[in-house]
């Protein structure tokens, strides 16, 4: 599902004149297979988020290749990457990233609108998806009217709504209490089993790492554990 080959990334720091580069990722190579749940672990500042942003296309790598679902996404331009993300990748963020002026229903509907799904179909699809995350009665609520766990469910529904084969999550339970976290992890496992969605989850949390089939660990920009499997 995901193949990362010899990925390097660094950030340019400072103003002109006193430039310096901060090397964040060095020679990262790993693979995520279909229907896997893979957890990425590492200390704060080790470059986990940066890795996920590179896979998402929010930033471009200095060097290396990324393949998702058979497409070499590192070759896509901005527009094509956007279209690719819409179809193939769902996102779950630590702080949910819902649009506050839209109801839960409208937030979940957004990918469908961007995809050009006709209005009649959208209503039923959104309804179904909200039911999958257990929020069938909260469609008309605004994000501010929902609990943290509920908001994260809305964002999961939004990630699911176009049936992507892959969902990327950056500390999805980071803002939730442990009980809510447990429910959410159950939901993720269930979606993985029932819909065959591949998950790549960044986490500090052993509980999250626990549901994963496997764990990748990053330290100081280097992949230290679980990266290379026999197939690469």
């Amino acid at each position: 599902m995901i193949t990362v080959k010899n990925l390097h990334h660094h950030f340019e720091l400072g103003k002109k004149g006193e430039k310096s580069t901060l090397s964040v990722l060095r020679d990262i190579t790993f693979q995520v297979k279909e229907k896997e749940i893979v957890a990425i672990k590492g200390r704060s500042g080790s470059g986990k988020s940066t890795l996920l942003h590179l896979i998402s296309g929010f930033i471009r790598p200095v060097q290396g290749e990324i393949w998702i679902d058979g497409t070499k996404v590192t070759d896509l331009n901005e527009t094509d990457f956007a279209a690719f993300r819409l179809q193939h990748v769902g996102f779950i963020f630590q702080n949910f990233q819902l649009i506050p002026s839209m109801t839960a229903h409208q937030n979940v509907e957004l990918p469908l609108i961007l995809d050009g799904t006709p209005q009649e179909k959208r209503k039923t699809i959104v309804g179904e998806t909200l039911r999958k995350v257990g929020l069938e009665n909260h469609g008309e609520h605004y994000p501010s009217e929902l609990s943290g766990g509920q908001q994260q469910r809305v964002s999961i529904a939004r990630a699911l709504v176009l049936n992507p084969p892959l969902i990327l999550a950056d500390e999805p339970t980071g803002s939730l209490d442990s009980e809510t976290e447990e429910h959410l992890l159950e939901l993720i496992q269930q979606l993985n089993k029932e819909m065959g969605i591949t998950f790549l989850i960044i986490t500090h949390d052993d509980q999250v790492a626990h549901i994963g089939n496997r764990t990748i660990e990053i330290a100081d920009g280097l992949l230290v554990e679980g990266g290379v499997t026999h197939e690469i």
């Binding site: 942003h53 998402s56 929010f58 930033i59 901005e78 527009t79 956007a82 279209a83 690719f84 993300r85 819409l86 179809q87 990748v89 996102f91 963020f93 990233q97 819902l98 649009i99 002026s101 957004l110 990918p111 609108i113 961007l114 995809d115 050009g116 006709p118 209005q119 939004r158």
Partner: protein
């Protein structure tokens, strides 16, 4: 993303800040209204002038004065008339030979009128639109047709001029001839001066018809249409071409100068106004000197086109000022919505989609402004047309011509103004929209924009 959804999206966004959006629309509307009203004065005055000109003279007429041959003007002869009649698009060619003196016509010695006499070709006059209000066309040589206003100018002969005319320079009713004219015997008196002595010659004629009133109220037709043989009789008496009265000391200057028969006044009537210019151009290429209202109109049109363009350019400045407001509003909208835009980009909105949403928003503001502005412009225009004549009349104590319209808004002007508004607003929304596409996803999601 479907257009319908984009539209829906934009509408929701606009609702979030109604007051700001409305104020921006209002500014655009005022700019647009200013543009339309300003230019409408050019259109109104142009139209008034055209109507005025069209009413004054028949628009399908082309007067031909002569033909230029080797730098000199030649009079028009039968072969010229034949050529004119052969031009396609020509309805009729009327031609007159004018008596070079105004004979005195009198009935029963009691009533008389001094007026112009001319020969004419009745078949072509009829084709050109001449109609008789009474009687029939002449058949014999001594039969004549008189103009519609001949009768009302035929006045008692022994009344002094001061007494005869009323304030409007018309013969007072009590002195007008009130008997019947048709079949009436009338005497035409021509003069010639010989050896400083005035000789007169009288020709008896019979009135067989009266022409229809001219279609312009103030236009009077009191001409007398005589036959060729009457003209010849006059020429024989005076011994000059066209019955010219010889000036003492300059006798024989004009007589016999013109060997061939010619026409004094030739008018071509075009089938419709569209071909007038065509015929005029053809005549010009054949060295005929001609005049038509349409050619004069071309110059007027040219001038007004320049004036209108100038007014539209000045008006556009108002729209440009309004566009600064749109630029502002859109920039603020982009800044406000940066986090939302970041989220949308993250989940897969193309930059083009983001751009289109914002361009659509600014063009909707522009369109709404243009529509409101057009409505305002119509109201202002009506008010101007209603109030300005009243004000001017009371200030200058003078009546204005009834067809005068200060402000006119043809649909072309509305199209131009709405077009300018849309172009300007779309252009001013373009930069903010471009900025929206450049928003960094990560920064936006960290609320750093």
């Amino acid at each position: 993303m479907k257009f319908k959804d984009q539209f829906q999206f934009v509408r929701q966004n606009m609702k979030k800040n109604k007051v700001r959006v409305f104020m921006t629309m209002l500014a655009t509307a005022i700019g647009c209204a200013f543009l339309i009203v300003l230019a409408s004065v050019g259109f109104g005055l142009h139209d008034s002038l055209i109507q005025d000109t069209m009413q004054d003279r028949a628009v399908t007429e082309i007067q031909v004065h002569g033909k230029e041959v080797d730098g000199a003007y030649q009079t028009l002869q039968d072969e010229d008339i034949e050529y004119f009649e052969s031009i396609s698009g020509v309805k009729a060619v009327t031609r007159n030979k004018q008596l070079q003196q105004s004979p005195v016509f009198s009935i029963d010695d009691d009533y008389q009128l001094q007026t112009m006499a001319m020969t004419t070709d009745f078949p072509s006059e009829l084709k050109a639109g001449l109609e008789l209000s009474k009687g029939k066309l002449p058949e014999k040589d001594n039969e004549i047709i008189v103009g519609h206003d001949f009768a009302s100018n035929l006045a008692e002969s022994n009344i002094s001029d001061e007494e005869l005319y009323n304030d409007e320079n018309q013969v007072k009713e009590e002195y007008q001839y009130d008997g019947k004219l048709l079949g009436k015997e009338i005497e035409m008196k021509v003069i010639q001066i010989e050896d400083n002595e005035e000789k007169t010659h009288t020709i008896p004629l019979t009135i067989t018809g009266i022409t229809e009133a001219p279609n312009r109220e103030w236009f009077q037709d009191q001409n007398v249409y005589i036959s060729e043989s009457v003209l010849e009789e006059v020429e024989q008496f005076t011994g000059t071409s066209r019955g010219m009265v010889s000036t003492p000391g300059q006798e024989d200057m004009s007589s016999g100068q013109q060997q061939e028969d010619y026409y004094d006044q030739v008018t071509i009537y075009a089938k419709n106004i569209e071909v007038v210019q065509e015929i005029s151009d053809l005549l010009e290429s054949k060295d005929y000197a001609s005049y038509s209202v349409v050619s004069e109109m071309e110059q007027i049109n040219m001038m007004f086109t320049i004036v209108k363009a100038g007014l539209i350019i000045v008006g556009t400045i108002a729209v440009l000022i309004a566009s600064i407001g749109i630029y502002n509003t859109m920039t603020m909208a982009v800044t406000e919505r940066a986090p939302d835009i970041g989220i949308m980009k993250a989940i897969g909105a193309k930059p083009k989609t983001i751009k289109r949403i914002f361009v659509l928003e600014s063009s909707m503001i522009g369109l709404a402004g243009a529509v409101i502005g057009t409505a305002i412009a119509y109201i202002v225009s009506m008010a101007v047309n209603f109030a300005l004549p009243l004000i001017l009349e009371s200030v200058f104590q003078e009546e204005l011509p009834p067809e005068l319209r200060f402000s006119m808004i043809p649909w072309t002007l509305v199209l131009i103004a709405v077009g300018i508004c849309l172009i300007v607003t779309v252009l001013s929304g373009l930069r903010p929209a471009k900025r929206a596409t450049q928003i960094d996803v990560l920064k936006a999601m960290r609320r750093e924009v």
